[in-house]
């Protein structure tokens, strides 16, 4: 008998999945926590109650609109040649604003390179985010000023930094918590799985917030996983929740719960925010090569901003004057971003040597002196 036919026979004879495993595992329909339907209806969830004032709802709406406007402006600036690249968050505003607004001042966010909405909630100046995409720095903001770490480009690496930071919180006896952002593609990375392990065994106060936007550049989530991503958590020994990532209220409520769970000494939580990347992976990508318009159109009907606006209008919580004011503010933001980026000076080339080390290093100092002398030789006319 050949190996191949043995394998086939074995497959045929495979026993049915026991009920005990089925209940915990792969066949059950994933539950999606939702508090606001795509039509703008408020619904309740027994595990994630949320009370909001009209002011809060309006302010969430404002954040969503301004973040989208900022993002759109950045895409336009890339097309105009002002930025080298841009990674748009279009479609993911609710996941980012909901989770970002759930954080307390002392909490800390470790982003990928697409968390512009979280940055906004942490009060990071949007212009700071654009420096690296323009090429004037690699980030450069002080992460401790707003507890928002630098953008990390290598996929998943930051989840370990977040976990280490959270381990430090535990050692300090503080009640802060951390959010590690990553995507569906990153869930395959070793670092993310190591972060799950470290966070779990050390009971670190970290919330793993996975924005499953369905696409890792051209690869669908099915290339990364055979089970819903939130279920990965159970194998590591902590809770996993799937939330409607286009529902800002559900993202807020679930993340707030998860952060409290973590800060109260119960260890990590995995949140899978089920959402969709409406735009390209970055401005260098062409999604028409790998996905269908029908899919994108279907997700458009679940738009995070439209549903909150529908809710505000239906419930009479905001009037035309409010919406017009938000639009005017977003125009102002767009103007500020455009002017800010165009006015962003190129750094002096000696920046190359400035922060390689925090203490003197003879080779760097020597090469800096060589460069400065070489550059000066042009000014002196020696090298013309």
């Amino acid at each position: 008998m050949t190996v191949k036919s043995t394998a086939r026979a074995r497959k045929k004879a495979a026993p049915a999945v026991p009920d005990t495993l089925r209940a915990a595992g792969t066949d059950a329909q994933p539950e999606l926590v939702q508090l606001l339907t795509p039509e703008g209806e408020r619904v309740e969830h027994p595990d994630y109650p949320l009370t909001t004032t009209p002011d809060e709802l309006r302010s969430l709406y404002r954040d969503l609109v301004l973040v989208r406007r900022f993002d759109g402006e950045a895409t336009a600036l890339q097309r105009q040649g002002e930025l080298g690249l841009w990674a748009s968050l279009l479609g993911q505003e609710a996941a980012q604003v909901g989770s970002g607004r759930a954080m307390r001042t002392g909490d800390y966010a470790f982003p990928t390179y697409r968390e512009h909405g979280v940055a906004w909630c942490r009060d990071v100046d949007p212009l700071n985010l654009l420096g690296m995409f323009r090429g004037v720095n690699h980030g450069g903001w002080d992460p401790n000023e707003k507890n928002f770490h630098l953008y990390t480009i290598v996929i998943g690496s930051q989840t370990l930094h977040a976990t280490g930071y959270a381990m430090g919180i535990t050692k300090d006896g503080a009640d802060d918590a951390v959010i590690a952002y990553f995507g569906d593609g990153a869930s395959s990375q070793g670092d993310v799985n190591e972060a799950f392990t470290f966070a779990s065994v050390y009971n670190a106060p970290v919330v793993f917030f996975c924005q499953n936007n369905q696409w890792a550049i051209s690869e669908p989530t099915t290339t990364q996983t055979k089970i819903p991503l939130y279920r990965r958590a159970s194998g590591f020994g902590f809770p996993g929740v799937r939330v409607d990532g286009n529902d800002v209220l559900a993202c807020l409520a679930v993340t707030r719960w998860a952060l409290d769970h973590a800060r109260n000494g119960n260890g990590p939580v995995l949140i899978e925010a089920f959402t969709y990347r409406m735009g390209a992976h970055t401005t260098s990508d062409d999604p028409t090569r790998y996905r269908h318009t029908e899919e994108t159109e279907a997700w458009k009907a679940k738009d995070p901003i439209s549903r909150l606006r529908a809710h505000l209008e239906k419930e009479g919580l905001a009037d035309e004057e409010f919406f017009a004011a938000v639009d005017a503010e977003s125009e102002q933001l767009g103007l500020r971003v455009r002017e800010g980026v165009r006015g962003m000076p190129d750094p002096d080339p000696t920046l190359i040597f400035d922060h390689v080390y925090s203490e003197p290093h003879t080779l760097v100092d020597e090469e800096r002196a060589e460069y400065v002398a070489y550059a000066a030789s042009f000014e002196a006319g020696e090298n013309l």
């Binding site: 690699h138 992460p143 930071y165 050692k171 972060a195 290093h361």
Partner: protein, 324 residues
């Protein structure tokens, strides 16, 4: 610190002092707690400083370095142990793309006081992945400091200096010398990045570091019987390199041989030879020669002696240098 200590004990003492002096210093690694590390470098430290400061980690090197970065961001000063040289590669991204670049990425707003201790190099009859010399990878990466002691005094004081540094330091420990004994002085006599002339001479300069310093000292002693006076420089630091000391020495002797266990091709010796040629061109009586491992995977231990530089190969190179 009177009396003779092994390198292992000197390192243990340095870790103990660092833990005593700064409550933010933490040790992390595989089997470093109850076991005291596979080489016993952390022996007794968990018992005295607790599981919260001497942390047994999951078996995941990227996780060890990645979480150390996070701890550093929170204000801690982690000292991590990689169990063996060949096990550091799973952490390569965290070391070269994250740890080394974080300070620059933040335009100086954050510091990365992380020390990575790695027992390295061969000569102990080990199985695969337990005998490698990978210093060139790290020295090639701007943002890292790379040092390696060759004796108990330097092991103790350089480790303390490494832990006190606000920059990431790759601290390479010559594992086959762990049990070599020597005096450990009461204070460091050199900065962490200074080279040391360990034997003065006039006819040629032997440049070595870590495990090869002893081999070069033995070669110099043997050469003296033939009437040749070889100077031996213990480089100690691989990034940055103390070219001032090297240049002074080579200008006096006119000849230099660089010795390391790592493969010669694109090893530290290549950089040292290039720079010394440039700096000492009119003083050189012969090209700078290199003695090292071959361009092959580290071999099975029964033939490692043929791979590793020894006294005879060093003296053979000296002969060639003197023959010019």
């Amino acid at each position: 610190m009177a009396g003779q200590l092994s390198i292992a004990k000197a390192l243990n003492g340095a870790l103990r002092k660092s833990l005593e002096n700064d409550p933010k210093t933490l040790l992390m690694g595989e089997d470093i707690g109850k076991l005291g590390g596979v080489f016993r470098i952390t022996d007794g430290l968990q018992k005295d400083f607790g599981e919260d400061r001497v942390i047994d980690s999951p078996l995941a090197e990227s996780g060890i370095v990645g979480t150390a970065i996070g701890l550093a961001l929170r204000g801690y000063r982690p000292v991590v142990e990689i169990q063996f040289d060949g096990f550091v590669y799973p952490a390569f991204d965290q070391i070269v793309s994250q740890l080394a670049k974080m300070h620059a990425r933040a335009l100086g707003h954050v510091k990365m006081p992380v020390t990575i201790r790695i027992p390295y190099a061969g000569g102990i009859g080990a199985v695969e992945h337990h005998s490698e010399s990978h210093e060139a990878y790290f020295a090639h990466t701007a943002g890292l400091r790379v040092v390696t002691p060759s004796n108990p005094h330097d092991a103790h004081w350089m480790l303390r200096q490494a832990i006190e540094s606000d920059d990431p330091v790759i601290f390479l420990e010559p594992k086959r010398r762990y049990w070599d004994k020597g005096e450990v002085g009461d204070a460091p006599d050199l900065g962490m990045h200074d080279a040391r002339i360990v034997r003065p001479g006039t006819d040629a300069t032997l440049i070595a570091y870590g495990p090869m310093v002893k081999v070069c000292l033995e070669a110099a002693a043997a050469a003296e019987e033939d009437g040749r006076r070889l100077e031996v420089v213990d480089l100690r630091s691989l990034s940055p390199v103390d070219f001032t000391t090297l240049e002074d020495s080579v200008k006096r002797t006119g000849r230099a041989v660089v010795v390391h266990e790592a493969p010669v091709f694109l090893g530290m010796g290549a950089e040292l030879a290039a720079r010394l040629t440039e700096k000492c061109f009119y003083h050189l009586e012969a090209p700078v020669l290199r003695v090292g491992g071959y361009y092959a995977p580290y071999p099975p231990s029964r033939v490692e002696e043929a791979f590793l530089p020894d006294l005879d190969r060093v003296l053979d190179a000296v002969d060639r240098a003197l023959a010019y």
